[in-house]
Amino acid sequence: MQLLRRLISRLVGGAIMVLVVASFTFFLVRLMPGNPVAAEYNTLIMRGMTPTQAQNEVRVMYGYIPHEPLVDQYFHYLWQLLHFNLGQSISYEGVSVLHIVLSDAPWTIVLVFLGLITSFLLGVTAGVIAAVKRSTGLGNALTVSGSLLHGIPQFVVALLLAFLFTTLWPIFPFGAPYNANLTVGFNFPFLGSVAYHAVLPVAAYAISSYGGWLLTMKSSVISVLGDDFVLAAEIRGVKPRIRFGYIARNAILPLFTVFALSLGFMFGGSLFIENIFDYNGLGNLLVTSISNRDYPLMSGAFLFITMAVILSNIIADFLYSVVDPRIRRST
């Protein structure tokens, strides 16, 4: 019951955050110098359209009427948003923004989650080893590898991988999520092609966050190893396997917070990584929509990325309260 109430309160909080972000994007677009909507409207009139025609055209494109008061536009925008209408793209003429965003979003989500899981598994395992063997060469080497990789920005990793494996030794493909000649569906060549194309971007995500996991896990394990209950379990003769479970569960807890934070970092990173590999996901969509001045698409993509981050945070936060009894009863 308490968990349900917690979940509901988190969802309400998330909805409010989405509303705030949606409002921000709405006003930001309108605050941009040059007022692109009015400019478009004027261009259309100069092309010989009547003001009514131009107004209709702009309304279809941007989802609002340029000469209405800003407040009316704002509520109109929110109303449309409530019906999942994000307007129409300018660069892909006549295609709805929602359609474009939804067709690109899965690729980003797949990349981000594969990258997250890979780096999490690698980093956490290496972190445990680095903690347990901290006085040996192996432990030190792992820690150094973590610190080094942690310090390299995502786009540098991505550029390096792109240069090494698509240019110097062209063993991995560049661009598109899959080979366009294959039929889309649940068949082996298609899935294989998807995996093949995902290797480099996923590796870029994984390498850039591996160090963070490693260092956090290492310090967490070391602090848990010094806890009384670990010694107590040893003295009580608790089986090593059970003891390992005690340590692992306690040590991994703080990583939930990092998990939630790093999701935002990963989705943010998709701007660079997808752009560098020319991979058709949300990040790349956002970058191209910016350079094309495709404002509806831009705010749509931005809104979607924000929602993904907020949703993942809610899930991480909720999971934290499931795994840690001390948090569970405090709300």
Partner: protein, 333 residues
């Protein structure tokens, strides 16, 4: 296998410590935390370990379970446990089983000796599984009975997490963990620290009655002379990693031989009489790095220091009937 098959072969578990030396690796080098400790812990007795912080009381107790943690290391000696042989020769599985079968260690009330993420009952079941108990329900029933015997609400405690228990309750839960597998040797680390006077009294009474009822070998680690006077049959006085005096409680407290023991007793304020009668020991105990490597370790603070104390290690001399004292002053008389 039922619970009772785990009972140790030897009913009475005495501990014979021979020439035990333990050292710690620090930034400034390797230092002895215990040096050449030879001591017999008698079965069915309550033995009090007394000494200042850092005197090696807890290290000695840990060594008995072969549980010295790095950077500590056992450099030599033997710990012979009745019915089990030399504990220091055991590693891995045999050591793990021995710990569950023989020893019950109760942490201080302020320690967190339970996994914060699991309910007490679930951790008791982990303990049972670790020691081959198939009747886990029976184990929980037993634990519940034990908990109620020592004044806890059994059902509530077994379904609680550590953070839902107070310090005093945690310590009692620690007692349940220590006793539920029918340990033969009960070790209590500072059982009265961080507890109020009334709770202290309750804990000591519980321990005493369970000790007698189950015929345990009990060790109480403390720096409180009052606890020793009230509980212990025998007292071991430790200073700078050495046993300086050992003997039956009454004789040792009324007729202390070692200047350190004398000082400890003189430092206790009396309820009647002048507060100024309580004389603190001058100076402070050495830390690991400043313990003298030869001669008497207590000489810096001793009123009876002679030139022999600087160069010659004192040897154990019999005292208090079947006890011992390590002091040149006593040696000479």
């Amino acid at each position: 296998m039922s619970l009772y098959d785990l009972a140790p072969t030897a009913e009475d578990a005495g501990i014979h410590i021979q020439n035990l030396t333990v050292s710690y690796d620090t930034d400034r080098g390797r230092f002895n935390a215990l040096k050449n400790v030879t001591l017999d812990i008698r079965p069915r007795h309550i033995t009090g370990f007394i000494g200042e912080s850092g005197s090696g009381k807890t290290t000695l107790a840990m060594a008995m379970m072969n549980a010295i943690q790095p950077p500590g290391r056992i450099d030599g000696g033997a710990i012979l446990l009745d019915g089990a042989g030399d504990v220091l020769q055991l590693r891995g599985e045999p050591l793990r089983r021995l710990r569950g079968r023989y020893f019950g260690f109760v942490f201080q009330a302020s320690s967190n000796s339970l996994n914060p993420l699991k309910r007490v009952g679930a951790q008791l079941m982990d303990l049972g599984r670790s020691h081959g108990i198939s009747d886990l329900r029976g184990l929980l029933r037993e634990a519940k009975a034990l908990a109620e015997r020592i004044g806890l609400d059994g059902d509530r405690v077994l379904t609680s997490y550590q953070h839902e228990l107070s310090g005093g309750m945690r310590q009692r839960v620690g007692l349940v963990f220590a006793l539920v597998l029918k340990a033969r040797i009960l070790i209590l680390d500072e059982p009265t620290t961080a507890l109020d006077m009334l709770t202290q009294q309750a804990v000591l009474e519980i321990v005493r009655s369970i000790h007698q009822e189950q015929g345990l070998t009990t060790i109480v680690i403390t720096h409180d002379m009052g606890v020793v006077a009230e509980m212990a049959d025998r007292v071991v006085v430790m200073y700078a990693g050495r046993v300086v005096e050992e003997g039956p409680t009454f004789s040792l407290l009324t007729n202390p031989q070692h200047p350190y023991t004398q000082g400890l007793i003189r430092a206790i304020p009396r309820i009647t009489g002048n507060l100024d009668d309580a004389k603190p020991l001058p100076g402070s105990p050495p830390d690991l790095a400043t313990i003298p490597t030869k001669g008497c370790v207590f000489r810096e603070r001793c009123y009876a220091r002679t030139s022999v104390c600087d160069t010659v290690d004192p040897v154990p001399t019999s005292a208090h009937g079947d006890g011992l004292v390590m002091c040149h002053g006593v040696d000479a008389s």
